[in-house]
Symmetry: C2
Subunit: 154 residues, 2 copies
């Protein structure tokens, strides 16, 4: 798998938050309900994103989480880096230590190119890009397509 489940959940939650026009706090419970993700598990993941300042949180009633920066300034690679780390984008495809330094492996040339494509894709895509696309095409971020990109004004 390219990305861990934690990372995928984190991305989907970030998209959810970026789709909220007014940047109010939204409870993790609501997110987990709407995206059909285990609430406790999602809490742990979003705590990590809060720790690295991608989100900010508030406790208590009316509390929740929200993006700390505008959605068009957050790229996917930041979420991947926060949760899965940069290993995918730096390591040897054959698992050998120190990709690129000194002797590379025979796959290095091909993999370095491919890896750059992945990296570029993650670096060039912002949350807002995906939200825009999602709203226009009514695309899904849940298994059953239940999430409908409603502007959340509550």
């Amino acid at each position: 798998m390219l990305l861990s489940k934690s990372c995928i959940y984190g991305m989907r939650a970030a998209l959810y938050l970026a789709s909220s026009s007014n940047n109010k706090y939204i409870s993790i419970k609501q997110i987990s309900n709407d995206l059909d993700i285990s609430p406790h598990f999602l809490t742990k993941i979003l705590q990590e994103l809060t720790r690295v300042d991608l989100l900010e949180s508030q406790k208590g009633p009316t509390g929740g989480v929200r993006l700390k920066r505008a959605g068009d300034e957050v790229t996917l690679v930041e979420i991947v880096a926060a949760i899965d780390g940069m290993d995918l984008l730096t390591e040897c495809a054959l698992g050998l230590p120190g990709c690129g330094t000194a002797k590379p492996c025979p796959l290095h040339e091909q993999w370095a190119d491919t890896r750059d494509e992945i990296k570029k894709m993650l670096q060039d895509t912002t949350l807002s890009d995906l939200v825009r696309k999602g709203k226009e095409g009514n695309l899904r971020i849940t298994a059953d397509g239940s999430f409908d990109w409603l502007p959340k004004e509550n």
Copy 2:
């Protein structure tokens, strides 16, 4: 991680076998020694490659494993498919079921492109390609670079 450890080990062993000019049986013990991989674990992996007819094996003294087809006719994607399956090359980046069919996810466009790059790379690269490159550049397929692409004529 892009590929599982099993898959990486299988690839490195396949490269090892493809580097042997005369296509004699080579014992898994020797491979595991030269590539510094746990012999029992490697045995299990190579059994899988034998099961799908990428390798053939013989028991007993002078036995071992060897490529069933010529190295220039075996592409990396076959090894990946045999060990990790095709999930990486068919599934949704956000983990949603049925990528591409019906409603895609917002990442689909970008991911489908990137995924095709990975697929193309794996499909276009043969074991012989990598062996040639490895021999020319004296590249490594072990952590410490101890494997030296000697023609094995024993």
